[in-house]
């Protein structure tokens, strides 16, 4: 099953590679991994999307907790949470498809952030699944570039990951 794991770790050189190394050394999947400092610049927050059996997910949580630089781990998928991913898509269009594309972007609540005579770049923020749907809705031949951040997650209401 797909899990979104959030963790807080020391914002130090090498901390990211400890996490990445753990996943590769133990053969765990990483669908996406995203990391940036928090409001406390000494701490980074990482969101990892992974998948595996319950036993594997339990081990992933334990192994992450075992890393000295990791201060807190929360498996967001175990409770109510929100998930967002940012995507930029550059598409090529002819006059005929331009309107259709813009309508599609509107439906998905995306915005056009750059436009030239033959290309247009759309910014979209939603769940990973929604972003996938958007890509499916566009004629695949039209896509020039796609860049995605990977999922970010946060617990709902009082589910807070903080030191």
């Amino acid at each position: 099953m797909r899990h979104i794991i959030s963790l807080l770790m020391e914002n130090e050189a090498g901390a990211l590679s400890r996490v990445a190394g753990l996943f590769s050394a133990r053969g765990y999947n990483i669908e996406s991994l995203t990391v940036a400092p928090t409001e406390d610049p000494t701490l980074s927050r990482m969101t990892i999307v992974t998948s595996g059996s319950d036993a594997v997910i339990e081990q992933i949580n334990k192994q992450l907790n075992k890393l000295i630089d990791v201060a807190a781990v929360l498996d967001l998928s175990e409770g109510e949470h929100l998930e967002r991913e940012l995507m930029l898509v550059k598409v090529s269009f002819s006059g005929a498809t331009q309107d259709k594309l813009k309508r599609l972007a509107e439906i998905f609540q995306g915005r056009v952030i750059d436009e030239t005579e033959s290309t247009c770049t759309i910014e979209l923020t939603d769940t990973c699944a929604k972003l996938d749907s958007f890509l499916q809705a566009i004629e695949s031949g039209a896509i020039l570039e796609t860049v995605r951040t990977g999922a970010l997650g946060i617990g709902r209401g009082n589910r807070i990951l903080k030191l």
Binding site: G14, G21, A55, Q59, K62, K66
Partner: protein, 577 residues
């Protein structure tokens, strides 16, 4: 007063009460060696290869409750040390490794003797640090010692660039450490401990299975008391030998691949299994699915939550320091009115005793013509009064030593269990001898393993380490040959050791005493002679039976009850049972 980074590093070791460190100098650590030279508190043992420095520091730590310390230079110094670091990591041995690094301004430029030490060691250390500021040296070394010995112990590397070891700052050694992201667990959960106690009391076929954790946590006394109070059978893993006395009748021997028949069968058929600082390793429980076929309740006590439920499902997990958890478990048991059901226990013991008889215990067919390796270990046990520190290398000799030397005390059996590192025995023995200067130290090895770090005979000469090397020379990489015999149609690919040196002359060339023993009748006299030479390193080259195999054996991938016994009499076949 301001000190250089190098001086600070050495002062930190002094503050930690380090008596010996093991190392090898080189360009990037010259400032640190200079600082070492100008003081006397921390003594340095110059090894002949960095791998040996790590194993020596490791043996030092395993045979005491101290942190082992090694000092190596950058690049090849560090890469040579990696096997030793990984060895310690797999067996959770507390060590601090200080490595030199190229100057900080040259990092990343492929400088001479540069390697990404922190990157290379990351998967085999508990933690590691690259120092970027001279002010960080003291607090980092303080943290390194704290991390190495607290919680589940392990090796910690501190990489110090050469320029930083030469910069100056005020020396202040922190009194305490606090790492917000690291809080080792002490006591276990009381509710879980009470549940564990109840399950133990209701068990019909209980089994106590203890591993290296019991030794690392210093919980041998508590374990022994627990076994005695409950009257349950106890098995110690390869890493746990000595935590419970091997000569006691409640001890059923080692479990697993080369464990006793009764230990394997009892592990497989028990209805309640309490694991004490053990991790259900593949060499211990064999095939996981086969093990899971028999329903049993498992209580697992470990300081590392990731060891629990890693390979088997656990009914009662207890996370905590074994010593504290066992203390609490004992007080719960003693405070209650209930005792284990004597009738159930008697029936279970009857079954175990039947396995003991049918499995034949640890027996082998001795010979008056050719030296049997097991016979050498039995005599070693007798001649040393069972009270030696025994290190070993890896292979058949290791298994025979584990089987036939009855360890009654913790920290006496020093071997590379997890990583299985050949070349471990002799350098480890150096560390053992240094921290136990008056003790008898034997290194049980083979002609294959000993050659992986034979150069350390030179270190032993320089530092007067009277280790007794017991080499079981069968002219084969015996364990490899055994697997080739069993599983590869007797095709002995590269397992024959041709062109062996004359080990007697080799020992003499290094300034030691060498004895070659060819006849069974000479085994005991040779051992007596060797161990009477208190001040000499004696290298005993026993010419042993090249065809001897280690039994019992649970073949790789098989289940515990699929154990193969020695086909030679006096053992009956397993199928008859």
């Amino acid at each position: 007063m301001e000190l250089t980074g190098a001086e600070i590093a050495i002062r930190c070791l002094q503050e930690e009460g380090v008596e010996y460190i093991f190392g090898y100098p080189g360009g990037a650590v010259l400032h640190i060696y200079d600082a070492l030279f100008q003081q006397e508190k921390v003594k340095h043992i110059l090894v002949r290869h960095e791998q040996a420095a790590l194993h020596a520091a490791d043996g030092y730590a395993r045979s005491s409750d101290q942190v082992g310390v090694a000092l190596v230079t950058s690049g090849p110094g560090l890469t040579n040390a990696v096997t030793g670091i990984a060895t310690a990591y797999m067996d959770s041995i507390p060590m601090v490794v200080i490595s030199g690094q190229v100057p900080s301004y040259a990092i990343g430029e492929d400088a001479f003797q540069e390697v990404d030490s922190v990157g290379i060691t990351r998967p085999c250390v508990k933690h590691n640090f690259l120092i970027k500021d001279v002010k960080d040296i003291a607090p980092t070394i303080k943290k390194a010692f704290y991390l190495a010995k607290s919680g589940r112990p392990g090796p910690v590397l501190v990489d110090i660039p050469k320029d930083i070891s030469n910069q100056k700052t005020e020396f202040v050694y922190p009194n305490q450490v606090s790492i917000r992201s690291y809080k080792p667990i002490g006591k276990g959960d009381s509710t879980q401990i009470k549940r564990a106690a109840q399950i133990l009391l209701e068990a019909k076929r209980p089994m106590i299975y203890s591993g290296g954790g019991a030794i690392l946590s210093g919980a041998a006394t508590q374990l022994t008391e627990l076994v005695h109070w409950l009257g349950f059978p106890c098995t110690n893993t390869l890493m746990g030998l000595g935590a419970y006395p091997a000569t006691d009748k409640l001890f059923v021997g080692m479990p697993g691949m080369h464990g006793t028949y009764e230990a394997c069968m009892a592990m497989q058929h028990c209805d309640v299994l309490i694991a004490v600082g053990a991790r259900f390793d593949d060499r211990v429980i064999g095939n996981v699915e086969h093990f899971a076929q028999v329903p049993r309740k498992i209580i697992h006590i470990d300081i590392d939550p990731s060891s629990i439920a890693k390979r088997v499902k656990v009914d009662v997990p207890v996370v905590g320091d074994l010593k504290l958890v066992l203390d609490e478990l004992l007080s719960v048991l003693r405070g209650g009115k209930q005792k284990p059901n004597a009738q159930n226990l008697a029936e279970w013991w009857k079954q175990i005793d039947a396995w003991r008889v049918k499995g034949g215990g640890l027996r082998y067919k001795n010979s008056s013509e050719i030296i049997k390796p097991q016979f050498v270990i039995e005599k070693l046990y007798e001649v040393t009064g069972g009270d030696a520190f025994v290190t070993s290398d890896v292979g058949q000799h290791q298994m025979w030593a584990a089987q036939y030397y009855k360890f009654n005390k913790p920290r006496r059996w020093i071997n590379s269990g997890g990583l299985g590192t050949m070349g471990f025995g002799l350098p480890a023995a150096m560390g053992v001898q240094l921290i136990n200067p008056d003790a008898t130290v034997a290194c049980v090895t083979g002609e294959g393993s000993i050659q992986m770090n034979i150069q350390e005979l030179s270190t032993c000469k320089q530092f007067h380490l009277p280790i007794k090397v017991v080499s079981l020379n069968n002219r084969y990489l015996g364990m490899v040959r055994q697997w080739q015999e069993f599983f590869h149609g007797n095709r002995y690919a590269e397992s024959y050791m041709d062109a062996l040196p004359d080990f007697v002359k080799l020992a003499e060339a290094y300034g030691h005493v060498g004895i070659r023993i060819d006849n069974p009748a000479d085994v005991e006299p040779a051992l007596k002679e060797a161990f009477s030479r208190k001040n000499d390193l004696v290298f005993m080259d026993f010419q042993t039976d090249p065809t001897e195999n280690v039994f019992p054996m649970v073949p790789g991938g098989k289940g515990l009850s699929e154990v193969i016994l020695d086909p030679n009499p006096p053992h009956p076949h397993v199928e008859d049972l």
